[in-house]
Amino acid sequence: VSIRLQLLIVALTTLVLPWAGCQYARELESALRNSQEQSLLAGAGIIANALSAQPQRVFHDSGDSQAFAAAAGDLYVYPLVTQPLLDGYREDWDIPADPAPLPTASKYRARLQAGSTERFLYLYLEVDDAHFMPEPHDVNPGKDRFDRVNLTLQGPAGPTSYFFGTTAPGLIAAQSVAKGDDGADQVVTEPRIQAFWLQTAAGYHLEIRIPLSFVGQRLWIEALDGRGGGQAGFAPDSPRGGRLFFATAGLNALLQTYIREGTRATVVDANALKLGTAGNIVTQNADEAEPIWYRYFLGVDTSEMPLLVSSPDRLSGDSIREALKGTAHAQWVLSGSRHALLLTAAAPIVIDGQLHGAVLLEQAADQLLALRDRALTRLFNLTLIATASAVIIMFAFATWISVRIGRLRAAADLAVGNDGKIRLSMPESSSADEIGALSRGFERLLARLNEHTQYLRTLGGKLSHELRTPLTIVRSSLDNLESEGLRGDQLRYITRAREGTQRLQSILSALGAAARVEESIKQSERASFDLRDLVNSAVAAYRDGFPGARFLLELPENPCFALGAPDLLVQLLDKLVENAVDFCPPGGAITVRLERAEASYLLQVANDGPLIPEALTGRLFESLFEQRQGKDDKPHFGLGLYIVRLVAEFHGGTAVAANREDGSGVVFSIALPLI
């Protein structure tokens, strides 16, 4: 893994900044939520206190605290905002709830809903009775059979029964049976109670309008099938007759004075039935065209929040439940199809130590969200910018370091060249940091290595020089001994000793050869000469000098004039040929070839000997590099090819060793520049 990648990974730890920002934002939000809860709770409490001081404006009948029971026929009277048209349709009531079914013993079904304006109570009855049976003329309610609806109102003066029936659908009035002057039952029309009979394919709708002055606390209503198909609802004498639960008139206006913008207040009685409501929940960001993506992993987890199921007539939820038990309570809920986040706070309304109802305040969390989003957006943008710049800077820095180290590495790779020369200067060595120190360390190392190499290079010459005097002592002593006149066997030993010293002598001479060549190179003068002639005559000499070897000579047609030191080139050729002779197997040929290439003369000495290991081809020309097992007694110090290189370089040329492509032998090539 590169340094760049490592540092990049390290740089990614700066992502902890946005994370910390998130945590902070959450805490901030939590605090905000708390304070919103408290403020809403306080608001609810204030309203509850205010309302408890004027119970007559809140509750109709502050005495009735019996629980609302729909099954027992209890009827919630929805507050109607506008006066509905009496037309048999309830669409203009604008109540989201459906009519509630009336109890029935048969298959005769009917549904009822109640609403009120300030002056009238409206009843809407839907009866599934496809077969219309009209009311006969001169009706006898006691005997005649027709589709009818009985309504009994518990007025201030006791219950009054009415019935509805019609000869034809349309606008009708309630009728009642009264004792006539003659004492007989007589059907009387009550024109103040009006109704509209609408016949449909499935049955009929009856929309009834009753002045509130007729209405008491209870009413009984039942639908009867004229064909005897059954009845639905409560008979007038039924003990279970429905009680009426009214929203309080004027309460809405009263509430309106207490609430703030964006808040909805609802007052319920002890049965959680709505008595009045005011205000609207404003969802500020209703047109959230672009959801802020990070809210998804930043925002409060709302999935576990309770879903507020709203019904038009009553409130539910923990807040209102707690408030109706007597404790104020605030809760976050989701509401509506969009699952908008709402804060609800409820406070009980207590009058004279008795619980009468509760006030519920609802407020959208959008404001809070908007606030948090603003803070978060800033925080997020800032930390993201910080993180991004940190990552970029780290990356750039790592790249810079990487490049510098790369440069150093490349220089280290090339520090010791193929020619064995050591380049002492490294890049970056002037830098003050650790890389600079590393570079300087390299330089010191290279300097030492160079000293050592120099020492090794000159070791041969020094040795040969230092050993020469003792060797001379031995040899001159042998000379003296010999001239003393010796016996036969003594002479033999002397001869052996002399042979030994001669070998020592040639070893020393070989050791000092490179130094002498270096010296003579320094003193060489360049002259123009014919390279072809030189090679030709040299090879002729080698044929005499190495009778056991077979030489092949390939020369160009034209003379090859070159500028240089022919003596040195002959030495170069000597070394190459000696080398080739040493390695060429018996029967093999040594090919000496001179060729005029485009920019240089190419002098090649090839032999059929064993191949050079690939790894060694670059090192063969180094001083004191010797990898062979000599097959003769001559000392080999690996100086021959070093001399070849020295001479080639003196002429501005190069020396290269390579295996033949077909693997049949080895070629040493010397390229020499043209004049």
Partner: protein
């Protein structure tokens, strides 16, 4: 009267060996270990021939100084450098100071004795009237084998003893290629190839100082050299 040879050599074993060998050849030997004692003795009496090492005890170039001083005392005294130092620079410096020969210590004692004899022979020949029989003439070249003097177009060319013998060997058989071994034998010396090459180079340069067009010594690459007329 025996010829007196001074040997200035700081290595006692070597000094003794040279002294023993040369006294066997009938010379009187005076051996010195350093420049000061040698110079004191030379101021009293000059030897007939001096063999000097270049580095003497703590004086790395004491032999050169000694040679210069000795040459100041006598222009004719034969001086041979015999040294372990074989660099061409040393050889050139030594010969420029007026030494008659520059030998490395590779030289064998018989070879050394041959040289000493040759130098004495030359001294004797110089004192005798001209003996034309010993003179070899090859075109512009004339070589006096006895006096070991060489002239080119009548101008003297000063050669060291080794150089003289090389020229002599080449010029005696013009056109014949002499390889390095033959030249070494003729010069009574064992030299490596490079040293022969530098000797040839020096010889050519000396002739060219007299005649810039000199081109009589030809290199036969890989074989040796020949004299062309």
């Amino acid at each position: 009267m025996k010829k007196q040879i001074a040997i200035v050599e700081d290595e006692p074993a070597l000094r003794e060996n040279y002294a023993a060998a040369l006294s066997r050849h009938g010379y009187s030997i005076k051996a010195y270990g350093n420049r000061q004692t040698a110079m004191q003795a030379f101021n009293v009496r000059l030897p007939d021939l001096a063999i000097i090492d270049i580095s003497l005890e703590d004086e790395a170039e004491g032999g050169f100084d000694l040679c210069r001083d000795l040459r100041a005392l006598s222009a004719e005294l034969p001086i041979i450098f015999l040294t372990a130092r074989d660099s061409e620079l040393d050889a050139v410096s030594g010969l420029r100071l007026g030494a008659d020969d520059f030998l490395t210590k590779d030289v064998s004692l018989p070879h050394l004795a041959a040289r000493v004899a040759a130098l004495f022979r030359r001294i004797d020949a110089l004192r005798r009237p001209d003996n034309a029989a010993e003179i070899v003439r090859r075109g512009a070249l004339s070589i006096d084998g006895e006096k070991m003097q060489t002239t080119w177009n009548g101008s003297a060319v000063t050669l060291s003893l080794t150089e003289f013998w090389i020229v002599h060997a080449l010029a005696r058989n013009p056109g014949h290629v002499k390889n390095r071994q033959q030249l070494m034998d003729a010069a009574n010396v064992v030299l490596d190839d490079n040293t022969i090459t530098s000797h040839i180079k020096r010889v050519r340069r000396k002739f060219q100082q007299v005649d810039p067009a000199f081109d009589a010594i030809q290199t036969v690459y890989g074989m040796g050299y020949r004299w062309v007329e």
